[in-house]
């Protein structure tokens, strides 16, 4: 019954979404407030129905109801409870259900907390949101129904892909989807604004927090995925420029640009058309990512058993959404007149520079990701575009942007003075010199990019601090005054400072882990030692151990440096009982200077030893810390007062304000 109930709720949600996407749109056009008023209750109802459907599927997983195909194909009674739950979205059908659940959740949030939005804008935003949702409901119901029954039901399930049975990956997809789908809000606002023909500061004030929230989730999702790849795959790397990684990175790049240009719209009432276009592009990248991952055109862990009908369906959806919105943009976009003027050297100019670089970087990643597919489609042969290509193109593009990132916040709005800004940045220049020379002196045999990376990391980190000191007028006023200025900084400024500083930390980590990694592969018998980056790895031996749904060979290493024992590492090679699929669990010991990383491989029959792969990954932990600081910065910015107070023109309206205050 549960499966039928879930299916029924999902079908009802489709019809609610159809109503929500049509009536309010017509109502807003003809000025019929009753028709527009349908949008909010419909959004709430739609969310309620999808939540029921999602709850039903979760219930089926938790109770291991193998008469449902989806459960039988992806679950097993022996699986730990957390993976029974994460198994709900660890497969194609369930993950699409999660997608519409999050989409409905965001629509529901606009309906509930959007009391201070102009009524026509609110109706149109909800209608556009529902219109996109209709496409996804149809997709699920027609090609990917998670509630399909299986007859006769098997005794037990096929189990979730063991690689996905991991705490890091349990939360990676929901985070990523919150990000992807979060950008649908920016998209809906952009389309609604195009229909309205009006973009103003109040609009930007509404779009920014949604974009920011989506950005935070996407950042966290990408970082979780990267972290998972780092410790689970056992390849020692954390970013492979895999098409699927690119699929999540492109919306991130475009979304970061959108975040910055929305600031310009809000503060300076200019760059409107560009911001709308970015909102469309960002969500298009999210959809494209979904298409690439779900259609099976790519070879990856995310490509579940595929069905060509699905790829075609998403492709058509993609063409309708992207083509339709770009056509609307071409038609209505020119009517958006920007008011604020600015000189090329100004805060706006710097933000626009960021936008241009980010857009170019998005385009380059898009090209590298799609080129093999296009070439294959026209019969040009099978090729692959890997890390060397992306590193050769992406890094040179980022260098000038990061260099400019320290200068931009020091420029005034409208008209800036770059000479004065550079003069104030002398401590950053000094720090950059120290960072670069230090890197050169410590890692004498490293590649040139390592020195560049460290120079940039120190430049950006110190530059961000200089900007903070400028804002509190440190040294130019008594310290107590400076501190009280620091306290009065709006949270949005703190967000910027932390996010930029976090990126600086992250760049240092990426430089270390990318440029200075040390690796060694060999056969080791118990008692054998290997020297790597000044550390001595001793292989103590391997033993058999058991887990809830797997058995494993665990190899233990003792690591010491200069005769001082540092600790032990235990790497596992697991075989999962149901699928017989092996996975590798890397052993990692994190230190401030770098990670000691060991992987045990196959037994070498001839010598009785094991193939082992040892790494010293310098500064990896700084990458995770930097990301965390960026996420914290974004979250602090999200709680800024101005996002809670709401649009200025409705301030005279007491009920609206009460509702907005209730939102936090």
């Amino acid at each position: 019954m549960t499966a039928e109930l879930g299916h029924f709720a999902l079908t009802l949600a489709l019809f609610v979404a159809i109503v929500q996407s049509s009536l309010p749109l017509v109502g807003a056009h003809r000025g019929k407030s009753q028709w527009m008023a349908v949008a909010s209750p419909a959004a709430l109802l739609q969310f309620g129905l999808v939540a029921i459907a999602f709850g039903c599927l979760t219930h089926l997983y938790v109770t291991s109801d193998f008469s449902v195909l989806n459960v039988a194909a992806n679950s097993h009674t022996d699986k730990p409870m957390i993976y029974k739950i994460s198994g709900v979205w660890g497969n194609h059908e369930g993950s699409m259900l999660l997608w519409v659940l999050i989409m409905a959740l965001f629509g529901c949030a606009v309906a509930a907390f959007g009391g201070n939005l102009p009524p026509t804008l609110k109706a149109r935003v909800l209608a556009v949101q529902a219109l996109v949702a209709v496409g996804f409901y149809l997709f699920i119901l027609l090609t990917s129904n998670p509630f399909d029954r299986l007859f006769p039901p098997p005794v037990n399930g096929q189990d979730l892909n063991p690689l996905l049975q991991d705490p890091g990956l349990a939360f990676h997809p929901p985070m990523l989807y919150l990000g992807y789908v979060g950008f649908s809000m920016a998209f809906s606002f952009a389309i609604a604004a195009l229909i309205e023909g009006r973009v103003d500061a109040a609009w930007a004030r509404w779009v920014r927090p949604w974009t920011l929230a989506a950005w935070i989730f996407l950042t966290a999702g990408i970082a979780l995925g990267s972290w998972w790849a780092y410790y689970e795959l056992g390849w020692g790397g954390w970013w492979f420029w895999d098409p699927v990684e690119n699929a999540s990175f492109m919306p991130w790049l475009a979304g970061t640009a959108l975040l910055h240009s929305a600031t310009v719209v809000e503060k300076r009432d200019t760059l409107k058309g560009w911001t709308i276009l970015l909102a469309i592009i960002t969500f298009s990248m999210s959809l494209l990512g979904t298409f690439l991952v779900r259609s099976g055109v790519l070879t990856s862990v995310h490509a579940f058993a595929t069905d060509p009908a699905r790829g075609v369906f998403i492709l058509v959806l993609l063409i309708i959404v992207i083509g339709g919105s770009l056509a609307l943009y071409a038609w209505r976009g020119p009517s958006l007149v920007s008011a604020g003027l600015f000189q090329p050297i100004s805060r706006e100019g710097a933000l626009l520079f960021n936008n241009l670089v980010m857009a170019t970087a998005t385009a380059v990643v898009l090209l590298g990701t799609l080129y093999p597919l296009l070439l294959d489609a026209i019969g040009g042969g099978k090729i692959s575009v890997g890390p060397p290509f992306f590193n050769a193109v992406f890094i040179p593009l980022m260098v000038p942007m990061i260099a400019a990132m320290a200068v931009g916040p020091l420029l005034n709005w409208k008209r800036g003075d770059w000479r004065a800004a550079l003069q104030r940045l002398w401590p950053a220049l000094l720090a950059a010199a120290i960072g670069g020379t230090g890197a050169w002196a410590i890692v004498t045999d490293g590649p040139f990019m390592g020195i560049v990376g460290m120079t940039l990391a120190f430049w950006l980190g110190a530059g961000t601090l200089v900007e903070l000191a400028e804002r509190m007028r440190l040294g130019r006023e008594p310290l107590s005054r400076s501190l009280s200025r620091l306290k009065r900084q709006p949270r949005a400024s703190w967000g910027m400072t932390l996010a930029h500083f976090g990126l600086a930390i992250g760049i240092a980590g990426m430089t270390g882990a990318g440029a200075w990694v040390k690796e060694s592969i060999q056969v080791m018998k118990p008692g054998d030692t290997t020297m790597l980056a000044g550390y001595e790895f001793r292989f103590d031996g391997a033993r058999a151990i058991g887990g809830p749904n797997y058995t494993a060979t665990a190899g233990q290493f003792t690591v010491s440096r200069d005769g001082v024992r540092i600790g032990t590492l235990e790497s596992e090679k697991r075989i999962y009982n149901v699928s017989g699929q092996p996975t590798t669990e890397a052993a990692i010991r994190t230190t401030v200077a770098g990670d000691l990383y060991a992987v045990i491989g196959d037994r070498d029959a001839a010598t009785g030893g094991f193939v082992t792969r040892l790494y010293f990954n310098p500064l990896v932990v700084w990458m995770w810390i930097g990301t965390l600081v960026m996420i914290i910065g974004g979250t602090i910015s999200l709680t800024d007062r101005r996002h809670r107070v709401g649009a200025p023109q409705t301030r005279a309206n007491p009920p609206a304000r009460a509702q907005a205050a209730g939102a936090d």
């Binding site: 194909a73 490509a303 058993a305 003027l341 520079f353 380059v364 042969g381 060999q522 699928s579 792969r613």
Partner: protein, 182 residues
């Protein structure tokens, strides 16, 4: 500066960036694109020596051999031709005899020195490149049960068919017979 000039400044800057990006992309493409080849391509001498390429096919049954110094030797076949491969390091978890595999490396003196063996994350998955190479060599159907199942399940049928039919049985068979890595 007039409004028009300012806009031109940014259009100019945008074009410069685009130009730089195009230049970077073209040089990087020149040097870093990796072509995929089948064993038949290698046998026919279509593969440049000393260039990084991908070689894909099925791991020939009975060919996997452990050598000293953590090196594994095996052979990749598309049914028509077979190329010897060596790889130093830990093979991916799903590397097995009879399964589809994609390797990346260089051809040196008739032996393909793989620097990377691409991990497939799902054992019911056949890399599309390999499937096509097998089709081209005319060994698609008789490439073993794993390939046959893929034809019905992953490429054509619904997941229901995959579950109830060939792929399910195939999965069970793999778990038992997949000798390597267990």
């Amino acid at each position: 500066m007039k409004r028009k000039h300012k806009r031109l400044t940014f259009v100019g800057l945008g074009l410069c960036l685009l130009g730089v990006a195009v230049a970077l992309v073209l040089t990087a493409f020149e040097e870093n694109i990796v072509f995929f080849h089948s064993p038949t391509d290698v046998a026919q001498g279509k593969v440049e020596i000393d260039r990084r390429v991908r070689l894909g096919g099925l791991v020939e049954t009975g060919s996997v051999e452990k050598k000293p110094d953590a090196v594994t030797a095996f052979a990749i076949t598309d049914g028509a031709n077979t190329i010897p491969v060596t790889y130093k390091g830990i093979l991916p978890d799903l590397f097995r005899e009879g399964q589809g595999v994609v390797t990346e490396g260089r051809l040196v003196a008739g032996v393909f020195r793989a620097e990377e063996v691409l991990a497939k994350h799902d054992e019911t998955y056949m890399p599309p490149e390999v499937a096509e190479a097998l089709k081209a060599s005319g060994h698609w159907k008789d490439g073993g049960p794993a390939v046959g199942a893929k034809d019905g399940a992953a490429y054509g049928g619904k997941p229901g068919a995959a579950y109830g039919g060939a792929a399910y049985g195939d999965k069970g068979a793999d778990a038992k017979t997949g000798g390597y890595g267990q």
